[in-house]
Symmetry: C2
Subunit: 242 residues, 2 copies
Amino acid sequence: MNNIYDNEEFFESYSQMARSQKGLDGAGEWQTLKDLLPDFKGKRVLDLGCGYGWHCLYAADHGAASVVGVDLSEKMLEVARKKNTFSNITYLQASIDEVTFEAESFDIVISSLAIHYIADFGKLAKNIAQWLVPEGQLIFSVEHPIFTAEGSQDWSYDEAGKIAHFPVDNYFYEGKRTAHFLGSDVTKYHRTLTTYLDNLLTNGFQIKRIVEPMPPENMLDIPGMQDEMRRPMMLIVKAEKE
Amino acid sequence: MNNIYDNEEFFESYSQMARSQKGLDGAGEWQTLKDLLPDFKGKRVLDLGCGYGWHCLYAADHGAASVVGVDLSEKMLEVARKKNTFSNITYLQASIDEVTFEAESFDIVISSLAIHYIADFGKLAKNIAQWLVPEGQLIFSVEHPIFTAEGSQDWSYDEAGKIAHFPVDNYFYEGKRTAHFLGSDVTKYHRTLTTYLDNLLTNGFQIKRIVEPMPPENMLDIPGMQDEMRRPMMLIVKAEKE
């Protein structure tokens, strides 16, 4: 599997984004995600698609017993090992749809904006269910199915070049989409909301919360952020293993 | 509250639709909804926005102890009382956001495509939670938040007049929307997915299923039905009172 984050130019552009520069506080959805996180104290935590490791460090800072961060991109992990290191954080280079752990290895699994890169969510949900202890928590954010459906991930514009609305298309045709992001073609996988949730429910999860994060008040003056009131860009799901 | 279904012309047009003529089997989402319905045997059932009473009769036919169908439209109830009558079905003319029942009066509450006419879902969810017994079931369909967001409920067309995509706009601005349907202006209320689910969760419901019904195979040759693969038009939620 080829990883876009190991592409030099893409990586360079990504590293300039607010969410890369400022860490968690640079991400518009962080406040919403944070409110859904469980108490990390004494817990064994797995972060799938950990990137720079901001969430790993957050878990460690909040008392996690141990944290494993998995990412396919060696470039991302290099930064993580420098910037967000801590005695009980282990960074592991692996694809999140191929990595394996023993049953009941974790109390909490988190994943931030990584799962839409995975073709087979059913397989991943089944794996996570095995890795978690009973009553273990899964909290993940993904690009919203409405945001991934059409594929371009761009607005529709009127003749004057102003945003007209956001286009939805091919919603029930799931699968690969190629969007242009930070100057590169990025492959993602579109799934319906139904598919996300059914794969959790059939693998023994209870749905605890489903939240579409809104742009936070204090970021509305950032260019483009006000427009994010017009479409749901992300989905955060909190589920508990039965 | 003014009811569009008591408008002569609108009612006439509505009564010509497949879902009005053929009953449950004329509705594209019926198969999906049916699969989510619990066993009605011996249960006390409430149908909010019962319309012609097709679902009331279905519940009665499947062994419900009693069924109460509530609808604001006297015209709809007239048809219900003629077409879908049964000894233990009671039809009640009332607004579903004003009707009241005693606590724990029902085992099952159903509602088909009615709740998007209600301004305050929080109040309704709280009421339903009171009317249901512990472990009571709520199953309802609504127009999908993606379908209600922009307001026109119409596709975007290209210059040749062909469907280009479905427009989403103003997603996080909830409230009144006016769409043109069957020749009349119809007022509905847009709410995000988050708002629907949070109002259930905070009122003591567990989310059991969330399904976006796809057009059924055997209806894909009906004009326009194939296009319904391109957008999610409805949302079905199954929840259980704790």
